[in-house]
């Protein structure tokens, strides 16, 4: 299991024990944390699982591909250099203790 910290839209810090075989989207959703919508179920078609990842995670992850970058432009909250679609991030690729911040809204 990978330990992650998720900062909710309400600003609460939540510890999550994430299964490395899942996507970050599934890990946050399955932990029962509100703030991920994931309308398209993880196919990078809706931009409603937008998250901001900390610098350690940014350094560890492969950068977003052209399609994910394109989708992020259409997220409800403006994307930054820290933005990812959480459905496209595998928990296995995240460093232990990564901090993931959810935007105020996905819609």
């Amino acid at each position: 299991m990978t330990k992650l910290t998720v900062i909710t839209p309400a600003g609460e810090s939540r510890a999550v024990e994430a299964d490395p075989s899942t996507s970050l989207m599934e890990a946050i959703r399955d932990a029962g944390i509100d703030g991920i919508v994931a309308e398209c179920g993880g196919t990078a078609a809706c931009a409603t699982c937008h998250v901001f990842v900390d610098e350690a995670a940014q350094a560890a992850l492969e950068p977003a591909d052209e399609h994910e970058e394109g989708m992020l432009e259409f997220a409800a909250v403006e994307a930054t250099a820290a933005s990812r679609l959480s459905c496209q991030v595998r928990v296995a690729d995240l460093p232990e203790g990564a901090v993931v911040t959810l935007p105020d809204t996905q819609l």
Binding site: E39, C40, G41, G42, T43, A45, H67, E73, L107
Partner: protein, 393 residues
């Protein structure tokens, strides 16, 4: 103890066509998973059940050997599951992606909308459904699919023929005959244009399929499913947004003053009256949903229309068109792997462009008090006619 599937045999399909919403409200309350006898399906009416179904395509696959859609159109990606569905859909993603919509399709949509409103503005009256919504959606779709030399009126009857055959549960001969004629026309248009795009690729769906080297049967099935799912729905949603706005002065004025609100009005309109009201899945293994047993092999219908008015998500005002309601996920585009491929296309075409262009071009636009609008449908639903008057320009 989960209960066996309750049978609903006291409603008629004619009632459902006329206004299914009171029936859905009753089912959500009393029998959210119920065998709808006149339609021969188990109807799912609660939002949360629909989400659960779309998250589990092993228990609830889209593929069904009994599918009338497969019989009508061929076996398209809409009736496949898992990796097979994902790889087929991946070929089409770029054509329908928001950046492509913004850079390539939106300017085309604007040209079509401006031409149409220019045509009708001097008339002072008309049916916004037949004179604007239908040609807008059909002409846009000819471009998106990649059969631009096709007459949009052909696309209109082709789409209806495919949809009528897909819903031909009574197995009448006429819909099958009309579907066969439509298929001939579609196949000829595909052959003609596919040869062009093989030499000169473009962002259209057909061009992407040709570039991927798909066999002709797959191209034909997927083009047909895009026609069936990409014409009536934007057309109906244009009508529904206009009906919602023209029935509510405050919301109409707000969108006129700020055309950027068109997208918000569109999103609320498809929640209010989901253009695709119901779509099918199959139960692969016995399961329990809303405390009701669904036996293996059961054909189920997911009522997007009902889920979009589920009180537990949208409150007691769910039946009202209110673009200022709190933002919340709706299910008019479905959810999960089959999430509507045309979502971003429709948001742009209808919300950003068609509706604001019409409101801007037709001063004092209002519903015709002599001829009230008519709505119809439960599998697909929208205005059947939308008579309006305005000051001629």
């Amino acid at each position: 103890m989960p209960r066996p599937l309750p049978v609903i045999d006291d409603v008629s399909l004619a009632e459902m066509y006329d206004d299914p919403y009171p029936i859905y409200a009753r089912l959500r309350q009393e029998a959210p998973v119920a065998w709808l006898a006149p339609a021969n399906i188990a109807l799912i009416t609660r939002f949360d059940d629909m989400i659960a179904i779309e998250r589990d395509d092993e228990t609830f696959p889209a593929n069904d050997p009994r599918s009338l859609q497969i019989r009508s159109m061929g076996h398209s990606l809409m009736r496949r599951d898992g990796a097979e569905h994902a790889s087929e859909r991946a070929v089409l993603v770029k054509s329908f992606s928001p950046p492509m919509v913004k850079s390539h399709w939106s300017p085309l949509f604007r040209e079509i909308a401006d031409e149409l409103v220019g045509d009708i503005a001097p008339r002072g009256q008309g049916d916004l459904f037949t004179d604007f919504a239908a040609p807008m959606a059909a002409r846009a779709l000819a471009q998106i699919i990649g059969i631009p030399e096709t007459d949009w009126r052909d696309l209109l009857w082709w789409s209806q023929a495919l949809i009528d055959a897909t819903g031909n549960y009574a197995d009448l001969p006429e819909p099958w005959e009309r579907c066969a004629r439509a298929s001939e026309g579609i196949d000829a248009a595909i052959d003609h244009h596919a040869a062009l795009w093989a030499k000169a690729p473009n962002p259209s769906a057909l061009s992407a399929m040709v570039a991927a080297g798909w066999p002709i049967e797959r191209i034909r099935a997927d083009i047909k499913v895009i026609i069936g799912g990409g014409l009536n729905e934007p057309r109906d949603s244009i009508g529904t947004v206009l009906l919602g706005l023209l029935s509510d002065a405050a919301q109409l004025e707000a969108v006129k003053a700020d055309p950027a609100l068109g997208r918000k009005a569109f999103e609320e309109a498809v929640r209010w009256v989901a253009p695709i009201g119901m779509y099918p899945r199959r139960v692969a293994r016995e399961t329990v949903l809303s405390d009701t047993v669904l036996p293996a092999g059961t054909a189920i219908g997911l009522s997007a229309a009902s889920a979009c008015r589920d009180e537990s998500h949208f409150g007691e005002s769910a039946g009202r068109f209110d673009m200022n309601r709190p933002k919340a996920q709706h299910l008019a585009f479905g959810s999960g792997p089959h999430f509507c491929l045309g979502t971003w296309m429709a948001r742009s075409m209808v919300g950003d462009i068609a509706v604001p262009a019409l409101l801007d071009a037709l001063p004092e636009l209002r519903l015709d008090p002599q001829n009230p609008p008519r709505m119809g449908g439960w599998v697909f639903r929208g205005p059947l006619s939308l008579p309006a008057i305005w000051s001629p320009k």
